[in-house]
Each structure stands twice: as C-alpha cells, then as structure tokens.
Amino acid sequence: MSLWKVAWRSIQQRVLASGLTAFSMGLGVALVVTVLVIHGVVSQTFKRGATGYDLIIGGKGGSKLDLVLNTVFHLGDPLHNIPYQYFEDLQQGNLSNEVKLSVPLAERSMGLLQRADLVSKAVELAIPVCLGHDYQGCPAVATTPDFFEKLTYYYKGKDVHYQFREGKNFQDEKGSEYDAVLGATAARKTGLKLGDTFRPVAKSQSEYGKHEDPEFKIVGILEPTGTANDRAIFMNIEGFWRCPAHAKAAAGDAAEGSEHEEHADHEDHAGHDHTGHHHALHREVSAILVCYDKSMPQLYTALPEVVNKYTAAQAVEPSREIFRFLNGIVGNVQLLLLILAVLVVVVAGIGIMVSMYNSMSDRRHDIAIMRALGARRSTVMLIILFESILLALGGGALGVALGHGLIAVLGPTIAEQTGVVVNPWDFQPVELMLIPGLVILASLVGYLPAMYAYKTDVAKSLMAGT
C-alpha cells in the first residue's frame, strides 16, 4: 500500500471538506486555463490574420493599429479612403505621382521623386479593398479576385491558398461585377447559399441598402480559415463601385477629385493616362494590401518610409503592428488577468492549508496510531504533503476540465462576435506548467499541517484517545 493511497484514503474520510477545497482550487485553475487558452488562440489568430501580405497602405486620420484592425480583422469603422489613383500609381511603379500631390514643389527634389518610383518597384502584388459595409452583422469587403487567387493565409504551420467549399471565386470580367463570396462563418450566420442575393449596408450611410441598390449574388463559399475573413462577405469591387448610392457619394467628392486631377495635371507628369485617371476619380479604396517582391528586400523599409513621409497615405506592416499590439495592450491585459487568476489559485491553496490544518486535531490520534505502528515522523509528514498535492492536482484537473468546458460554452459567441475561432480542446503547452506549479504550491501550503503531523506526540495522543 503506497503512501499516496494512504493520503487518498484520508481525503475520502473527509469527502465533503476535501471536495469543497478541491473545487475552490478548480475554480482558480479554470480561470488560469481560460485566460491562457483564450490568449493563446487570440494571439495565434491575430498573428495568422496578419500574414499573407507584407504591408497595408490606407488613409491617414487614424492610428496604424486602427488601420490593421480595420483591414485585417474588420473591426471598427474604416479610416479615410484613398483615391483609386493611388492604387494604380503604386501598382505601376509611379509613386512619385502621389509624392507630387503631397509635397510642395519647393520641397521636392528629383532625387525624392526617383526614390519614390524606385521603392514602388518593391511592390509585387497590390490588392485594393473597400470596407465600411456589412450584411446582417457580417462585414462586407469589396475587393478583386486576386484576393483569393494570389493571397495566402497561415494555417497549421504553413501558408495556404483559400479554398472554396462550394462554388468559385468571382471573376474580373463583364457579367461578374455583382458576384460575391461568403466566408464560412458568414455563410452559417446569414444563411445565404449559392445563388442567393443580398444588399450590403453601409455602416455610416443610411441610403445604402435601399431597394435601388443592386443586389450581389453569392457564387462561392470559402472553407474555414480560422481568420477574421471567415465572418466576412467579399464582393466584387467593380460592382461595389457601381452601386448608385456609392456613385452618389463619390460624386460628392468630385470637387476634391478635380483638385487631385488638376494638381496632377499642373505637374504634367509623364505617362499619366487621363482617361483612366478620370475613371478612377470616382473610385476610392479603404486600403491596399501589398506583397513585396522577394527579390528586393533592400526596399522593404524604404517603401513604407516614403509612403508615410511623402504621400497622403500611411503604410503599416501588419505583423509588426500586431506584435506590438499583443505585447503591449493585450499582453498587459493578459498578464493582469493571469496574475488575478494565479492569486485565486494561491487563495485556494491557502484554503487547502486551512482545511487540512483544522482537521489535524481530529487526525492527531490516527497519526499517533501510524507512528505507533512504526511510521516515521517523515512518513506521516509525507502523507500529509501527498494529501495536499492530491487535493491541488485533483482540483487542478477539475479546473482544466472546467476551463475548457467554459471555452466550449463561450467559443461560439466569441467566434460570432470577433471571428476568432476558439477550439475548446486547444490545449496550450504552458498549461503543462500547472502540474509542477500546483505541486509546488501544494507542498508549500501542506507544509504547516505536515509539520503538525511531524511534531505529534505519540504517547500523549494515544493516551488522549484511550
């Protein structure tokens, strides 16, 4: 018969007190597990969501983090739009056009303009996105077919392409302008199926979504990606721009656009397609997703620098911004929550100590019998310590189950609200640290009652029990 079994029998003898003590420990551990798992999943989701492209270029007027959260995670309201011309200039390696619009002639040098065109050569792929609309709570994102054909996302350790569970991608061709693709969660949440139609609603403009707006038709449904894109609806950007309400809003910006055109004309920059430019005047984008040309790493830092310093837009590296975000705000919140949860565990540990210590006077006689049978002081001390460890580990096991159970209950709501898919069985490696942590805590809190057992006067205790 092992000493563990002796300790276990002692726990069984006081089943109610032991159960309550273990349960309080379980609640503390459940909190720790919940914080760890949710933070782990959220971190992974954020990191995963911030991959697939290297740079986001969007309007100024908000923080870089706002731009990332808005573009990558579809959270919050979009920042100021940038002209479609910006996208074309960037794509065609003519970033100097945008520099001319922002930097006064007196402060502009040939070197700067040449540098702007040079750094835009680092752009291998640029994809425009328009944000600020939704449908039944799902963000509606207007983009080009390239989004699904050329971008990848990080899944299970590697970059993978978007897969369609049903249907196909919308096409960059006539007749396909009002096609749309559903993310996996969005499909479930809206109930839309292939062939169904919907009207996106602008978050800030009530005229959107009225009957005169064209309807978009679902042509594809994506496989789950574990990113925020799961809860989004993607529309062909061509159709989006053709919405009458949008055209109306764009027309309102015509004056600003004319200034843009006139300004550019004044500079008389070479190679500017006036027809195309005019067409682009009524088009705006919320952000441009940029993939670098892998053969030009020397330009990776120069491009965002030129964009930020010399153009009307701002550039942000999403992975870096998310890293800062997670290590800053989220990291501190997590640390605070973790400290609170650990404090709960420590308080539960003290509960074990109090419960065991209070029971010691009742158990003094049993301890004396064991000693009379030949158990050493160190043996009875070990039995008490083992009991403390069993209570802590039992409570810990209960806590892990409770924690993951809580996540299983909250998971669907979290996924609906944030797009972060939390798998309740997603065990974090750091959870393994709970085992040595609880053993150490149990040993510490078990020390006092164990010493009580150690010091038990056998003769006196036997006499008292006679």
């Binding site: 049993d366 009379a372 030949g374 158990a375």
Partner: protein, 227 residues
C-alpha cells in the same frame, strides 16, 4: 537450548516534570527480563504506570534513565527513526481501544503495519492472519462496520503482521464485552504461541492474570516489578 531473553530492562526510570518544577516519578525498575516465547501478565492498579511502561518498552516514550534491550538491541542507543523502524519490525502492540485506522479496511489495517515496517506488504500473510482470527469474511469491512470483538481481532492480526519478537497488549479485553473477553484472550495467547512471540499483557483483572504462568506486579508504592 534455553530461550534467550527477548526483553531486558535495567535501572529503568521514567519521570515527568510537573508544572511546579518538581519531578513525578512513574517508573523505577532495577531489572526485568522476559524470555523468547514467554507469556507474562503485568498487573497493577489504574494509574500505576502500566501503559507508560509499555510505551517505554515499545520506544514510543524515551526512558529518563536506564536501558531497554529487545532481542539484543538497545533501544536507548538508537535514533528516533531507528526506534520507529525497530518497533515496526520487532514489536507488536495491541491497544486497549483497538486503535484501528477507521479510513481503512480490516485487510488494509494489517497491510499498513507491514508497509511501515518493510515497505512491501505481504497480502497473503495479512489474509492468513485475518483468517486465523476468524475474519476472512470481513477483509473489506471498515472498523465502523465491525463489532467491538471483531475490531480487537483485527488489532491482534495487525500486531502480529510483521512477525514481532515481542507482543505488548495493553488491557486488550477491557473494552470487549464479557462474552468476547475470554475468546480474545485465548486468541492472543494462542497466536503468540504459534508465532513464538513473547507476550507481555497488561491488565488489572485478577481473573485474566490467573490464567498466565507468570504474573508480575507493578506496584505504585515502590515502582518495582515483583514476580
């Protein structure tokens, strides 16, 4: 071949310091011997120090002075852990109040005594002992589910678990109903004889004492053993 002495007490003294600083002498035994396999009854009035003497012999209490030799080992020269080990291996103890561990079954109570002595309990011997005391059908019963007489039988089996050289029994029939007293007494004597264990039984009952070939008296007056 004559049996050698299992227990030798020499100039054994035990006293307690009282709150007023004075010493209260409990035991003063110049010399005392018990041979291997011998059955001795120790009789004396309540409070004369019988239980204290057993505690000192078992190493549960340390003597104030003198020697306690058991099976040629001097307990007074041993460290406490050595005494604990020695007690577990060579001394059996039957208490007046049985002192079974209530959280454990009859079988586990016996196994636990083995665990503390050798680390590896011998389940076969434990079952055999319980069978010997008539409890083979009560192995998995906890003390609260056993009658008083049955509890004391478990205590006897437990005391013999580690094949001790000396069995100490402290008024083992005092809390047993009249019908079971003789049966328990017979059981202790018979099993001790079968296992060739020296028995030292404490009682204040002359009826019990009269059944033993050797009766020693612990008198309060002179704290001396008299045959």
């Amino acid at each position: 071949m004559a049996n050698h002495d299992i227990l030798i007490l020499k100039n054994l003294k035990k006293s307690y310091r009282q709150p007023d600083g004075s010493e209260l002498r409990i035991l003063d035994i110049p010399a005392y011997r018990v041979s291997q396999g011998e059955q001795v009854v120790l009789i004396g009035e309540s409070g004369c120090g019988k239980t204290t003497l057993l505690h000192v012999i078992a190493g549960i209490s340390r003597p104030t002075e003198g020697k306690v030799r058991i099976d040629d080992f001097d307990l007074t020269l041993m460290t406490e852990p050595e005494v604990d080990r020695f007690r577990a291996e060579r001394i059996g103890y039957v208490f007046q109040t049985f002192n079974l561990l209530t959280g454990f079954t009859a079988l586990e109570n016996v196994l636990l005594a083995m665990r503390f002595a050798r680390g590896r309990p011998d389940k076969t011997r434990a079952k055999k002992l319980l069978d010997r005391v008539g409890l083979s059908h009560r192995l998995t019963h906890r003390p609260t589910m056993l009658s008083v007489g049955e509890q004391q039988r478990v205590a006897v089996a437990r005391a013999l678990a580690n094949r001790p050289k000396l069995l100490l029994a402290d008024e083992p029939t005092a809390n047993v109903d009249a019908g079971n007293q003789q049966a328990i007494l017979d059981l202790i004597r018979q099993t001790s004889q079968e296992e060739n264990v020296a028995l030292m039984l404490v009682t204040h009952s002359h009826e019990v004492a009269d059944q033993f070939p050797r009766v020693d008296r612990l008198t309060e007056f002179n704290l001396a053993i008299s045959g």
